[in-house]
Symmetry: C2
């Protein structure tokens, strides 16, 4: 079973202060890039794995999705999601993504934002995502960039000239990381970019596009606090689709 840190009151309170929690997709720096990687949503059946407060579920409804299912482990987040979009045609379900088996061949898009780095078994997860897709379906997701996620507690150092440097530590050692992020002892899993891609492709999810997100000049003008994110990559975005089978 995955750690349910989002239902920890102190963690939940801390996370709720983030721009992405208060402002939804508009508060998520990587959203414009992720949005550009999505297939058309009109008439689509959409599954959001790790839906949190539900901003993407609501976006999918706005875009004309025919059906939206949001899944998350956190009861607190799902309650909040319900509160933010009362009456919308979104079904929320509480489940652990480490084991959750979605309905088979039911979705045109599986989406996941900043959830897969909490999963110990990405291979089994990829197989379940694949099984949930209809022919021609897409899996589009973002995760913490492995350069960032490799270090238990990402930080910066300064060189002799006071120049800010990112640290890459233990990048090549995959596996569990105990981090102090909002709360102490948050469990994440570090996987290489290569492992992530190979695992998806081995499970029949072909990589169509990959984006190592970076703040633009316009982003930094609007959000000076993102300037640090020029020094090391923070988000990794991928669009994959069901590889044609030789039936």
């Amino acid at each position: 079973m995955a750690q349910n840190i989002y239902d920890d009151p102190a963690f939940f309170e801390g996370y709720s202060q983030f721009a992405r929690s208060k402002d939804g997709l508009a508060g998520a720096a990587e959203w414009p890039s992720l949005k550009a990687m999505l297939p058309p949503l009109k008439g689509a059946q959409v599954l959001d794995l790790g839906c949190g407060f539900g901003p993407f579920c609501r976006y999918a409804v706005e875009q004309g999705a025919a059906g939206v299912l949001g899944v998350d482990l956190s009861a607190k987040m799902l309650e909040d999601a319900q509160r933010r979009g009362p009456g919308l045609p979104i079904r929320y379900e509480r489940a652990d993504l480490e084991t959750y088996q979605p309905p088979q061949a039911a979705f045109d898009l599986v989406f996941s934002s900043l959830a897969v780095h909490y999963l110990a078994d990405f291979d089994a997860f990829a197989a379940r995502v694949r099984s949930a897709l209809r022919p021609g379906g897409h899996f589009v997701f973002c995760m913490e960039h492995p350069v960032f996620a490799a270090r238990a507690n990402p930080d910066f150092m300064k060189d002799a000239d006071g120049h800010l440097l990112g640290i890459v530590d233990d990048y090549l050692r995959e596996g569990e990381r105990l981090t102090n992020w909002i709360a102490n002892g948050v469990v994440k899993y570090h996987r290489l970019i290569s492992t992530t891609i190979n695992t998806l492709q081995r499970n029949g999810l072909r990589l169509d596009h990959i984006d190592e997100w970076s703040a633009t000049d316009a982003d930094i003008a609007a959000h000076p606090e993102w300037a640090e994110e020029r020094y090391q990559p923070m988000f990794l975005l991928m669009a994959t689709s069901l590889a044609p089978t030789n039936a």
Copy 2:
């Protein structure tokens, strides 16, 4: 025109001392991983872009390749390649990979080892590689890992506990890097993993496998000097193939 640093006498002398220069493929740490990504060579037409002293050209002949063409900018390296394999059915050609147009639809495998990070225009290079492949052909290559290549002069730092940390600097800023590696002022180009993959795929070279090379325990037992390479990734390997066209 690309910088011809390998014909600089001091650089050539320094590079010639490397294990990979003296021992060929056996001296290249990443070779076993790269070898595992190759298609069968028996009867194949092979092009090696940036062939250097020719170790891969000779390997392809050993494996029964029907024809081998090695291309490099360095006259000194090509002379040496000829000397190491006299009488072998390998044709060597001196050319700048920044502009070299290989014969069209002529090869089953295009191979390239540690050369593409010297190229300013990877997009044009990928288009030429693609044009050189026969249907079903493969492009397999390795390059400096971008985490390593991003920093002009890759180095390590120690944290307060004396723990060795890799540095990732300016990873998100792509482009020219002037490095001091063997000689001063060696020109390389940093590109993200994502840019590399997207550029290949946009040019019809579909990613089949990717490997962020890491030394194994056995490697480090045999080569204690590779232990540092546990801290930051040094080599990036990719196998791609000609995507089927909708003819």
